[in-house]
Symmetry: C2
Subunit: 196 residues, 2 copies
C-alpha cells in the first residue's frame, strides 16, 4: 500500500519534470537549466537530481515518451481501418499531424531552432533507437499490407519505402503552413504509388 | 609577400585540422578531443586553440566546407545539362552520391552513429544555415526550371518540392546498399512527376 503510493508519487513527479522541461523548451529554446526545471516543477534541485542526472537525459526521456505516445496513437489508427491502402494513408496523415504538433510546440517563444530540433528528433534514430525502430516497423508493416493489396508499388522493399516516408514527412512537418504540409503528403503519397 | 606566405600557411593548417578531424571521426566517432586532433595534425594543443575554440566548432567548419564543396559540384552539374528535366535528375543523382559518400565516410571504425549524424547534418539547417540555404535555393531553382518545362508537377511550389527532395534523399543516402539508394531516388522522382 505504502509502496504503491510512493511509486505513484515518483511517477507523478517524473511526468511533471518532463512536462515542465517541454514547456520551458517551448518558451526559451533548448538552453534550459536544471535549476529552471526544478523551480518550474516546484521541487528542490537536489530532488530533481534524484530523478535525472542532467537536462539532456530529461529531454531524451521526454522525446521517448512523446514518440511512444505517437506510436500508440498510430497503432490505434492502423487497427481502426480495414482497407490496407486507406490504412496507410490514415497512418501517414496521423503521423504528419502528430509530428507537426510536436514541431509547433517549439514555436512558442524561442521558435524556429527548437521546433526544428524537436521535429528532427522525431525521426532521428540516434536519439531514440527503440521508439524509432518501432515506428519504422509499424510503418513498414502497414506499407507491406498496402503493397499486397496493390495500393503501393512492389518494386521497392516496404522497409525502404518506410524510411522514405518518415524522412519526407519530417520535411512536411517542419513547414509552418497546413496547406504546405498537405501538399507534401500528396507528393510523398505519389512516390509510393504503383508504377504507371 | 611575407603576409601572403603567412596567410597561405594559416590556410594550410586550417585545412589540415579539418581533414584530421574528419579522419578521427571516421575512425572513432564523434567523441574526439582537441589533444587527439592536435596530435593527428602534428601541431601543439596551444596552436590548435589559436585556430578553433573547441571540437564542435571544428566539426561545424568541416561540415560547412563539405557542403560548400558539394554545392560547387552540384552547381557545375546543373550548368552542364541543357534539358531542364534531365538537369534536375542529374542534380538529384549527384546530391545523393555526394551525401552517400559523406555518410560512408563515417562507416570506417565507429560506423553507424557517426555516419547517421554526418548524413543528417547534410540536411540540417540548424548546423549550417548559410550552406543549407544555398543548397535549398539551388535545388528550388532547378525544380522551377523543370516545372516550367513540364517535367515536374506544378501544383506544389518548387521550394516545397526542394524540401521534400532533400529530406527524401537524406533517407536514401543513409542506406548502406547502392541498389537501395537508387530505388529511393526513383521513389523520390515519382513524387515529383506531373499528376497522371
Amino acid at each position: 500500500m505504502w509502496n504503491a503510493t510512493v511509486e505513484q508519487h515518483r511517477h507523478t513527479v517524473h511526468a511533471a519534470i518532463l512536462d515542465a522541461t517541454a514547456a520551458l523548451i517551448a518558451d526559451h529554446g533548448l538552453a534550459v537549466t536544471m535549476s529552471q526545471i526544478a523551480a518550474h516543477v516546484g521541487i528542490g534541485r537536489a530532488t530533481l537530481y534524484k530523478y535525472f542526472p542532467d537536462v539532456q537525459t530529461i529531454v531524451s526521456a521526454w522525446h521517448e515518451r512523446q514518440v511512444t505516445d505517437h506510436l500508440d496513437q498510430l497503432t490505434a489508427v492502423a487497427a481502426e481501418c480495414g482497407d490496407p491502402g486507406e490504412r496507410l494513408r490514415m497512418v501517414l496523415d496521423s503521423y504528419l499531424r502528430l509530428s507537426s504538433t510536436a514541431a509547433a510546440a517549439g514555436h512558442g517563444g524561442h521558435g524556429g531552432a527548437a521546433a526544428a530540433q524537436v521535429a528532427m528528433t522525431l525521426h532521428r534514430a540516434s536519439h531514440m533507437p527503440a521508439a524509432h525502430q518501432r515506428l519504422h516497423e509499424l510503418v513498414t508493416a502497414v506499407i507491406a499490407g498496402a503493397a499486397d493489396a496493390g495500393a503501393v508499388r512492389t518494386d521497392v522493399p516496404p522497409a525502404e519505402l518506410a524510411a522514405f516516408c518518415l524522412h519526407a514527412l519530417a520535411a512536411a512537418a517542419a513547414l509552418p503552413q497546413a496547406d504546405s504540409r498537405e501538399r507534401l503528403l500528396d507528393v510523398t503519397w505519389a512516390g509510393l504509388l504503383p508504377l504507371r
